[in-house]
């Protein structure tokens, strides 16, 4: 579904990604870990199409399309979803209104009929239940005055509404207490199917107790320096990142 080959990218004059290679197949969960500043969030942003980042080389294939040629909104419409580390506030726009606009623009892109208010509400109610979110939160201005947990839960609700083929969770665990972490992870797990995939970007192993990855990759200095299974995450938790840095230095 997603195939990244030798991807390099920079912001300003600073080279951040130095040749990323990654293959994600339907049904898989990949975790991308790494120390601060290793390029994890940059990778998520580049995939979503944030324009501050300049792609300097490499290829990305997403469901048979050249991802790098698609506009950010078309990437979303093709089925890519980014759960933001810091979701922005949009005063005066409720999550409901926001999602209605998004859902209908995506349907239009796919040549389908937009949902009327009744059908939309019906879908919304189902998804609310699935990710355990309260309607009062969805009536409020998007993310305005939300707690950290509420913002992340709202991201997962949006993911449920948009039913992406590939979801990238960027540090979704940051700022969450253990209860919120469980609810958010639960939501993600319920949304998993054989045909969709998840990339979890995280600094800590703790989230991976709940969203169990099939593969774990360690990103360091803009490169994937080690890949393994979920045991690799546990090893990182126990030993820290220094041994990886040493390995890279030796090589």
């Amino acid at each position: 579904m997603l195939s990244i080959k030798n991807l390099t990218a920079k912001i300003g004059d600073k080279q951040i990604l130095n040749g990323i290679n990654l293959d994600v197949k339907p049904g898989e969960v990949h975790a991308i870990m790494g120390p601060n500043g290793s390029g994890k969030s940059t990778l998520a942003s580049v995939l979503a199409g944030r324009e501050e980042y300049e792609v300097t080389g490499g290829e990305v294939d997403f469901l048979g399309k050249n991802l790098l040629e698609l506009s950010p909104e078309d990437r979303a419409r093709e089925g890519m979803f980014l759960a933001f580390q810091y979701p922005v506030e949009i005063p005066g726009v409720s999550t409901i209104n926001f999602m209605k606009t998004a859902v209908n623009q995506i349907l239009e892109y796919r040549g389908q009929q937009p949902l009327d208010a009744v059908s939309f509400l019906k879908v919304m109610k189902e998804k609310m239940k699935l990710v355990e979110i309260d309607q009062s939160l969805l009536n409020r201005s998007l993310n305005e005055g939300f707690s950290g947990g509420e913002k992340k839960r709202n991201e997962i609700f949006q993911m449920a509404m948009l039913e992406p083929k590939l979801a990238i969770l960027d540090e979704t665990d940051s700022g969450l207490d253990i209860d919120a972490l469980k609810i958010v992870s639960n939501g993600v797990n319920k949304l998993r199917t054989k045909s969709n995939a998840v990339i979890v970007v995280t600094h800590y192993q703790r989230l991976l107790d709940y969203i169990v990855p099939d593969f774990v990759h360690v990103l360091y200095k803009g490169k994937i320096v080690k890949s393994g299974t979920k045991e690799l995450a546990l090893e990182l938790e126990a030993k820290g990142y220094d041994w990886i840095k040493d390995e890279v230095a030796v090589a």
Partner: protein
């Protein structure tokens, strides 16, 4: 230039859709302004002697006055002798009913989405349609008359209800109030008049629709609304003009007089031609709007969505004379390209326990300049007066300007005044967030701007709110940044 800026550019550069003209034979005064012209206008309208005298006295005061220079706007000097002060669509005889109205005129309003013909009328809205200098039709007159409500053109009111006109005209905005009000008093040609009797709640929205059609013509209309004790009315005003290369002057006066426990809600969606992308042409909108809460417990509420005009200069105000009276001002002012707006309100607290609330949302894009100017004045006698003001500015791109000029004068120390102000930019982060959810940039801007202006848009009657939302998006088309 970033892609955001490009989209903003495209968004903001959308053509003005009401820029057409229609060939209608007009009956006009010669160019220029002098006592002869005023006599001409007065005679055309078959006015009583007292009104001619009123006009002439206004004119004599006006020639001694100077155009105000304090607004934060710039424009070349206006040659008042180069304007036409009276222009009326030619009609064969006096119109008794709609069937007699020139079909071209009906078409003009239909093109604007306003139907004057019986079967297609918007339900629940009575319309007075004013083209250039005269009112061409007023709908639902009879229905309203059954309740004792008078809703007609100003000229008709002068003929049919001279005692009311004489009593209230100029009682809220005196002839010599300011330069443009004095000019209007001298040369006003038509407008709407509305009287709601004691205890009557007007069952439908009343609306005036203004259209400038003729070239080189100034539009000077007057609106007078009188709400008797305990009466209620909601009033809407809309306006458009053709695209022309020269600037056109619009200097209107609106007066509202509210007696004991009366409530008047006045909403405007102002969409005069703003000029082209380079700032050529467009309407100079120099308007005096004021309401007098004369009686105890009365309330006047102004809501305005200002998207058009090359220059806007207006401060819909409330004089809170009655005890426990209340004034409100809700405003969204959008400027784009080279538009300039200096707008806000005055809340003059005279009575005890008077309250006022100001919510102003400025949106600037392109090379435009957008200023909020507001005054809150608590007079000596105004015990326990309260005011809340919120003035927010939203900037799009880095070529535009937003300014806030609040004036607060307090002469009674029991007053409580709150003032909040914020300035923000539509962030790339906000736009990207929307894009990532599959929403295109144009819709993202519309969503964010409408969210920002929501508190004000919510004050508009339903039919207008939808229109206003679309208008906001349209005005800002091409201006993301």
């Amino acid at each position: 230039m970033s892609k955001d800026n490009q989209v903003l550019e495209e968004l903001t550069s959308k053509e003005y859709e009401h820029g057409w003209t229609i060939d209608i034979e007009t009956d006009s005064a010669p160019k220029g302004l002098n006592e002869g012209i005023i006599r001409f206008i007065s005679a055309k309208k078959n006015e009583p002697e007292w009104l001619l005298e009123w006009r002439l006295s206004a004119f004599r005061q006006w020639i001694k006055m100077k155009e105000p220079k304090w607004p934060n706007v710039t424009y070349p000097p206006i040659d008042y002798q180069d304007l036409i002060y009276y222009s009326a669509p030619k009609q064969k005889a006096k119109v008794k009913n709609l069937e007699d109205v020139d079909p071209e005129l009906i078409k003009t309003f239909e093109k604007l989405g306003i139907s004057l013909t019986e079967q297609k009328r918007l339900t629940g809205i009575a319309v007075d349609a004013v083209i250039d200098s005269v009112s061409v039709a007023t709908t639902y007159k009879e229905t309203l008359a059954e309740l004792g409500i008078i809703f007609c053109s100003f000229s008709e009111a002068v003929q049919e209800h001279p005692e009311l006109v004489k009593k209230y005209m100029g009682s809220v905005v005196p002839v010599n109030d300011n330069y443009f009000a004095a000019l209007n008093s001298a040369v006003f040609t038509d407008g709407s008049f509305c009287y709601i009797p004691k205890g009557v709640r007007c069952p439908m929205e009343l609306s005036t629709y203004f259209r400038i059609n003729a070239a080189n013509t100034g539009q000077f209309e007057r609106t007078l609304i009188v709400a008797d004790e305990g009466a209620y009315v909601s009033y809407l005003e809309g306006c458009t003009a053709p695209m022309r290369d020269e600037n056109q002057l619009h200097a209107a006066v609106v007066e509202i007089y509210a007696m004991k426990d009366a409530q008047v809600k006045y909403s405007t969606v102002q969409n005069w031609y703003p000029g082209n992308k380079e700032g050529k042409g467009g309407i100079y909108n120099f308007v005096t709007k004021r309401g007098l809460c004369f009686g105890d417990g009365s309330k006047i509420s102004w809501t305005q969505v200002e998207t058009g005009s090359a220059i806007t200069w207006k401060y819909p105000s409330c004089i809170l004379k009655g005890d426990n009276s209340m004034g409100e001002f809700y405003s969204v002012a959008v400027t784009n390209n080279y538009q300039q707006a200096d707008t806000g309100t005055k809340m003059i607290h005279i009575g005890k326990n008077t309250k006022s609330r100001i919510v102003s949302k400025g949106i600037s894009a392109g090379h435009s300049q957008n200023s909020y100017r507001g005054q809150v004045h608590i007079m000596k006698r105004a015990e326990n007066a309260r005011n809340f003001s919120q003035c927010d500015s939203l900037l799009m791109g880095d070529q535009c300007g937003a300014h806030t000029f609040p004036y607060i004068d307090v002469e009674n120390n029991s007053a409580r005044i709150e003032h909040e102000a914020t300035t923000s930019k539509i962030g790339e982060d906000q736009i990207f967030y929307c894009l990532q959810r599959g929403i295109d940039e144009e819709s993202a801007v519309a969503l964010i701007v409408n969210g920002y202006a929501k508190e004000v848009l919510n004050q508009l009657p339903m039919e207008f709110a939808v229109e206003a939302q679309k208008l906001l998006a349209l005005t800002l088309e091409g201006s993301v940044g």
